[in-house]
Amino acid sequence: MKFELKKLLSPPFDDGELFKNLNLIKEEFSKTNHKSKVKKIAILGGSTTSHLKDLLNLFLLNNNISSDFYEGQFQLYYEEVVYNVGKLKEFDPDIIWVHTSWRNIKKFPLMKHTREEIDFLIDSEFSLYKRIWEHAKENLSCIVIQNNFDYPDYRVLANKDSIDIHGKIYFLNELNRKFSDYDRQNDWFNLFDINYLSFLNGSDKWQNERDWYKYRNSPSLRSSIDVAYGVSKLILALEGLSYKCLVVDLDNTLWGGVIGDDGVENIKLNRDHPIGDAYLDFQNYILELKNRGIILAVVSKNEDKIARLGFGHPNSILKIDDFSAFVANWNTKSSNIKEIIKKINISESAAVFADDNQMERDEVTKNSNIKVPDIGDNIENYKKIIDRNNFFELIHITSEDLKRPDSIRASIESSKTKENFGNYNEYLKSLEMKTEIKEVDNFSKNRFVQLTNKTNQFNLTLEKIDFTNISGNNILTLTASLTDKFLDHGIVSAIYGKINDDKEIDINGWVMSCRVFKRTLEYTIFYKFYCLCKKLGIKKIRGFYKKSDRNIIVKDLYKELGFKEIKKTKNSSEWALEVNEDLVFLKKMIMINYE
């Protein structure tokens, strides 16, 4: 598609141009053949949803996800889910998005109501939504996305509206708190924060009374772009397609000035200078991203030694160790970034590049699939522009996420160590690896689901799961964590199987994080799995492989483990292993100490 049209689908949005070209963009997308799988998305609205549907579709198509949509009847979101009105069940959605706003509150408090009556009103409103979500989960087995509430743009109680219990703002805040609590307790439930979006939009843009009375749009037509974009990012995150890595330039991106010309003592990085202050805040934002699990890297056109000096500046918030990879030379930035991405072992489409220089941004955009937001060259805008893109949307925060940046830096360092070992096995032994292999429990279940759903390379069956798939008596689930002398990697592999009545087990899913490929951990986890099967009296283990363009690495895994191929089609194969057979892979396994 033409670059100008594609640009219209990235923030900051030019709403006039986007609406003007909406039909053209739709047509452009319809020309390309989308081979990706189809998501079935039901939008149930308390207001008109046709624009949201159109925009969401385009944002997802722009990320190679095609969708089928179901639009609920106007304001019948409760009836459709709870009483099966309409054809929602027939549509069989993967995702239900309940798009409601403050205008859909059934009953706000009146001035005459007592505290007890108001608490009752809040509870009844909440339980109405809760019934929708739980019906959706039980009867439609789908993921739920639910808006929280925005605010009306009038306050009958003026400043007291958020303070007095009769106020609408008070009421909506209480409900929003209950919605958030529910999200924290339920994995399959995803709150979508339109309250924050309305703040970003400003109420004059967000609440357009004319759009409501004329078209029944809430929020306004123009703000529906941000809403649809936000939901598309949430859906991408659910699919494991969030960005994982931020690559930054140095001069005039992380500090003011050019370090090679100005010298480290003259770069702007000090709180008593307005520009230096802004650079420090930007550095702090990046550090906060790293601390929540985003991998950082530097790509700079500089002499390596000079480039590193900047992080020795006494005020620098970012330290050289905060970056998993650091490249300073005179090659093109696109080729440097590609090199880094290979080392980190993520795909190009998982990296974001930030640079103040328009020419460098264009070079990277032209020569790669790396996402390059137009951050401009004014430091006060960098943080805002990166943040508005919602690149780093997340579903759960697991402790593995938080460790990832350090883990990747360690593994790149350990690969340097590797170069010093002639024999790979010797190298592996030198890593002093330890693993803990356990059945899934309450502590590991979020990580189990996350790892299974977002691993694309070492993934045998590509099955997406939620926690209900993997609980039950006849299910065997194991996770493996890995520690070596450099680092604790956390849980990095998961395997699960279902036992049938004939004492046979089907391995329905098996994944391993790409960070620990080639460590022979797959042999160790399978060995433990095999031993457990033996203990349970299982006679035969069946394995499955479904081919995609990214999981070729595990094509022959079952063969290596000594399985016999029993069925083969173009895109899949089925394997079996009798439990009494000798294990051929044992001699290849570096004994990783396990508990």
């Binding site: 030019d14 709403d15 006039g16 141009e17 609406f19 003007k20 070209n21 909406l22 039909n23 053209l24 047509e27 046709s50 624009h51 159109d54 009374e209 004319r210 009375y213 004329k214 078209y215 749009n217 037509l221 123009r222």
Partner: protein, 80 residues
């Protein structure tokens, strides 16, 4: 702004939004003449026009715009 100037800016918006359709731009043009001109596309049109002319139509004006001529008159009233 005079009518010619308004038409000069308005016409490309119509051509872009209804790029698949064959029509003649005139004051008489309305949703009756273009198949693709449904309520959804109508909303696209309104946002695009408002942004182009940096104006905002009132509820009353929208209710009384039945063809392109009405839209031109609403814009002229605001841009006089």
């Amino acid at each position: 702004m005079n009518e010619d100037e308004v038409v000069k800016k308005l016409q490309p918006i119509f051509k872009r939004i209804f790029s698949k359709n064959d029509f003649t731009f005139s004051r008489k043009l309305s949703a009756n003449n273009i198949d693709e001109w449904d309520s959804l596309t109508h909303m696209n049109l309104i946002v695009a026009i408002e942004k182009e002319f940096k104006i905002s139509f009132t509820l009353d004006e929208l209710e009384n715009q039945n063809d392109v001529g009405d839209t031109i008159d609403s814009i002229l009233k605001k841009k006089f």
